[in-house]
Amino acid sequence: MAGAEIEQLVHLLAKLPGLGPRSARRATLHLLKRKEALLVPLSRAVAAALENVRVCSSCGNLDTQEPCAICADARRDATVLCVIEGVADLWAVERTGAFKGRYHVLGGVLSALDGVGPEDLSVDALVRRCSGTGVREAILAMSATVDGQTTAHYVIERLKATGVAATRLAHGVPVGGELDYLDDGTLTAALKARRPA
């Protein structure tokens, strides 16, 4: 069998999303075969990330600077906040290039199953950001799930006192989606959210 260092590497890689023990062994072998081209830069990148990446104290994004590049960018609209569950959602919205405001990462959704209550989310920080800081609108970009929408309703309730307008993402037919192949839930939501043509 392989040495302890290799076993440790396989063991740790197998903990990554999308990798099981078998694919972790393949990745380990691939890294060891291409030490200079992959293993060394990867270990340096991991060390640099460990050293430099931190959570933005303003929005909860991950970045190497404080505040993060989005919060520090004066060209972005500081009066509109997009409230999202996690950093992966922030990256998804950023990929669209359609949003030019700032973000607030909640850090999850209310979930009785996972024991996540309001105190585990950064809702208080959001309310503070929206209180007397010039924010006009908070866009609640939560998942279209029971937990996601329950969280959205909770945040709307908490934002009422700040006077900030709370808006939500529409639910409906995706671009390229054919009605015949859509699930009943999406079609129901799309019909309820129909708008004048």
């Binding site: 999308g18 029971v146 329950t150 839930g185 939501a189």
Partner: protein, 243 residues
């Protein structure tokens, strides 16, 4: 071993990377748990939202195994009420209470039927009627579990008039006159639980939740070391705040 049954999704907990452990309230087999392969993935997550009606096929090598489900969506209740906070809170609460209160794999056909009726009311009825249906559902759940409340006559005098309290110990109604000396210790009996067509106000609904919540907590959950689930507490908070 395999069977197919109509069911209501109570919860889906992610298991591993893409599977989910799903709790269903089935029509013939009560609360039943199983594994859905790919249940946490994009294709099936919508189907496995709490409150959705599904046609479930369960398969396992032995009867007492966890087994695997294949679920086909019949009605997407959750998506229909996403926009309404009170209905969504009631839906989450109903699923959480059912999960906490029912023993596993014990048939409760009445509770399944009552819960289907509740989901239909949450979708279709106006908000007051939908929330009143929720309170009545909790009281019928108590009755199905053997802790039925007697709201037809006064437990002390036998009178059928002026019933405005419930004894927190016996679950029997108490009339205004008989309950007057003990009113601080009695639970309030909201009028909509006595008159089917009465449209309740928020304070009445909150009183109804306090009433059913007391018996759910003390008779059903506490003996198993459980408490009312957070979703149920949030529903009461919502109605109490608005009343």
């Amino acid at each position: 071993m395999d069977w197919t049954d109509d069911a209501i999704v109570l919860s889906a907990r992610k298991h591993g990377e893409s599977s989910a452990i799903v709790q269903l309230l089935t029509a013939e087999r009560g609360r039943h748990v199983g594994l859905v392969r790919g249940g946490a993935g994009r294709a099936q997550r919508g189907t496995l939202q709490p409150g959705n009606l599904v046609r479930a096929h369960w398969q396992a090598r032995l009867e007492d195994h966890l087994g695997g489900y294949r679920c086909e969506l019949v009605r997407a209740t959750a998506a229909a009420i996403f926009e309404d906070r009170s209905r969504l809170a009631a839906l989450s609460s109903a699923c959480a209470v059912t999960e906490a209160a029912l023993p596993e794999r014990e048939p409760h056909g009445n509770i399944h039927a009552d819960t289907c009726a509740l989901l239909a009311a949450l979708e279709a009825a106006d908000e007051g009627a939908a929330l009143a249906a929720y309170v009545r559902w909790e009281i019928s759940l108590l009755a199905d579990l053997g802790f039925g409340l007697d709201l037809t006559r006064c437990g002390a005098t036998g009178s059928e008039e002026n019933l405005i309290y419930v004894s927190p110990r016996t679950g029997r109604a108490v009339s205004a006159a008989a309950g007057e000396p003990y009113k601080d210790r009695l639970l309030r009996l909201p009028g909509f639980l006595l008159i089917a067509d009465e449209a309740p106000v928020r304070s009445e609904l909150a009183a109804g939740l306090l009433l059913s919540g007391h018996f759910l907590d003390s008779h059903v959950l506490a003996p198993h070391g459980r408490t009312l689930p957070p979703a149920r507490l949030r529903l009461l908070d919502r109605l109490s705040a608005d009343s």
